[in-house]
Symmetry: C2
Subunit: 503 residues, 2 copies
Amino acid sequence: MNVKNTESSYMSSFFNPGSLVIIGASNAPGNLGAPMCHSLKKLGYEGNVFVVNRKGEEVHGCAGFVSISEVPGKIELAVILTPAKTVPRIMRECGEKRISNVIIETAGFGELGEEGKELQQEIDLTAREYGIRFIGPNCIGSMDAHRRFTSFFGVKPGVFDELFDNPGETSIITQSGGVGTLVLRSLMSDVVGFSKIVSIGNRADIDESDMLEYLANDPLTGVICMYLENIGDGKKLMRAASGSDKPVLVYKAGTTSQGARAASSHTAGMANNNLVFESACRQAGIVRLKSVTELYSMPKIFVSMPVLKGNRVVIVTNTGAFGTILTDLLVNSGMNPVVLSDKMQAAIVNTATVFNAANPIDLGPGIDGEAFLSVFRLLLESDEVDGLVLAINVWQQSIIDAIIRLTDLCREYGKPAAIYTPNSIERVLHVRRNFGIPAFETPEEAVRALVVSHRYHVIQSKKSVNGSRNTMMRDKKFTGDKPVGADDTMIPGMVESVDQAIE
Amino acid sequence: MNVKNTESSYMSSFFNPGSLVIIGASNAPGNLGAPMCHSLKKLGYEGNVFVVNRKGEEVHGCAGFVSISEVPGKIELAVILTPAKTVPRIMRECGEKRISNVIIETAGFGELGEEGKELQQEIDLTAREYGIRFIGPNCIGSMDAHRRFTSFFGVKPGVFDELFDNPGETSIITQSGGVGTLVLRSLMSDVVGFSKIVSIGNRADIDESDMLEYLANDPLTGVICMYLENIGDGKKLMRAASGSDKPVLVYKAGTTSQGARAASSHTAGMANNNLVFESACRQAGIVRLKSVTELYSMPKIFVSMPVLKGNRVVIVTNTGAFGTILTDLLVNSGMNPVVLSDKMQAAIVNTATVFNAANPIDLGPGIDGEAFLSVFRLLLESDEVDGLVLAINVWQQSIIDAIIRLTDLCREYGKPAAIYTPNSIERVLHVRRNFGIPAFETPEEAVRALVVSHRYHVIQSKKSVNGSRNTMMRDKKFTGDKPVGADDTMIPGMVESVDQAIE
């Protein structure tokens, strides 16, 4: 992999600092830093936590001081929550204290006209002078579930305990705090835990590409999800993505000119041409997501299942209509709902009473868990099949048990199954929560997960064949993976000129 | 309206029979008719319920007989659950008993090859001989929430009590029992109740068009949702849809050739060209849905909000990113995220501290419910605005109260608001369940609801201008409403020839 480890080592202090100071945390009512102190104590975070405020008061057990210079010992990270106009002075004090990492969560900089831009420039100069690397301004902070660390402001202690108690391997880079919070809350309703999350805000210094490069090399990260509204440096992002062996899933908003205008008012970025971005993603091996929802619904296909290595997918259902619906969706996504050979069909008919054995396989409403398992096994063993999509309305324990067992079988045979349970959302949450079944919420989501998984597989395969990656965008298989709002035609020569055009 | 009331009066016996007999209900373990008896008793259904079984035994308080002829008095409806080969004989007995309405729930007819087709023909002949009108075969029955009636087989008593206790105005016609059940269960997680549901199965006699015509004239039905895999009689469906003043929302599966093949194996229908069907929908004023999910997510925009009369939509949010995301979605759906006049922007800025007043209106995280309400009022009053879409992360009671109040204001001003609360699905369910807020689950769903609502408005407007309806399909505003899998081009002359082509 093409990564400079020397540059990424400083990044760990943003997620697991040995010591930190929260500037602006106090006991005043409504203070946004106090819950951060409270959360760190409640989570049992192991590093030293100090606060700086006007009174020098202790906050939730974190020793307080009136200035940064008074804080004892070496400090790895400063989190700034004070008003915008105070930030340049505080940055200088951090520099004097030799704090190398800063998260500026305060808003009111580049996103708010000329005055804000000047303040931001002042901070940039100070940071360069003292060699400080910083995240923000205008962000909500970082979290590391494995280290039980949070620098999110204003979040009540306990809200995300469930996530800290069950860390996972999905890491999130987000240009919006609101989207970050949505993703975290939604992962709480799912089977997938998070590893790290960072809100990059106006990314005046550290940007999405720095973070991507860091997470691509982070042993605790397996899947990387990004929410972007605009790209700071196109070449840099492509380099970072090309260097990742892990799935890089990106949802980019601001793809229409009106949307881009809306974006510039809150994250201070420049608009990028959607078509150019699309080309860049294909070239760099980024899997582009179609909705904000996919940032939290898609990771589970990677975390709980092997990747889809071919496009031949068999549908297994116990209600005929979902066989039809899924067939349409597979075809429209460029997947192949392959018709099974007579031999395979005969084997399936020998195993269980089926309404239809050709694909979709309709096992009807009366079948038991053992029959399901036998059919699953036949399909996973077969060299006619690359993966499965299920639409099984689970209600009997024997069928739930069969589906739990299926997830093990999938790993054993190296083929994925996207599981959909056609029932109310409450029932879907129930099978996820109580049985850990990685269930999708709609048939569209299940099929989309297979497409995304297969897309990643193709990216990885092409990466291993050196130099052939640029042909990926012409791959016919991915017609169904076209993002909402993208034009239907590719402009000739775009691949060659994308590096220039995206900047 | 263009409806023959004389023909639709017989239909009421399928939903509210004064007396019925369930043939095949017994106390044998696993019997599918027993729960039907149990449910009818538990629901307190007012009509007389009898059963026929080999022993003539009573089932859950419903008097039992060994033959239909022995059942006392006039019987309005027979529900048949016995094996396929017995059905022709039973139909004849129903005829002799002068039962005019029958629901044949048994499977194993036209959907299962030659032998089944012959059985089905036999039934058709008997029905014609005795003047019986029947639903099915191969269906799961009918329900009427207002009359507390069910003829669904195999459903445990109590499962749908919540729906019977809170009847609504959404009626469902489904060619699949599985989809019908999914829709009912999903409505239980939402703010919308159902009125009637009917599973039409192989529709050997009564088809989707008969039902549509009946429901279009049913005073207890306000919105009609249909799940179809194939169309029996295209002209008839178009006639029925054209005669409806109510929204007719259709999701059709089997739109790909592979999907259509899958469909024919379980509902015994013929494939229809997707493009032709699309044209027919536009011509007849059917709102075509894009997913099975929309069958239960879309009705609430009609039930809880006025229709969208123009395409100028204002976004109100308290997290910037959702302003950007929704702007993209509106633009890509043919809606207009209109930039507000300077005067309107000044009025908004005078009312509340906002990050952005142009549209999207970003009220920031710190605002209170009163400020939200003042902004809502300004927007609804304005002649620059046709409707709203909200992305407000509700967590304070004052904001929840403001949103509850907003739904009243929308009715007062005759403009809709599509409400999205960017939070975990559990929180969305919470605001629906505890506060009756008609919240959508994703930003895509919220925007889609506005598109669907506006689509219906345009259909109704064109219907009132006699003869101009055929131009609808050329309406540029609806480019975003193109169903998944439809071709991008319309074939010239298709509109004129669609009546012939769809059959």
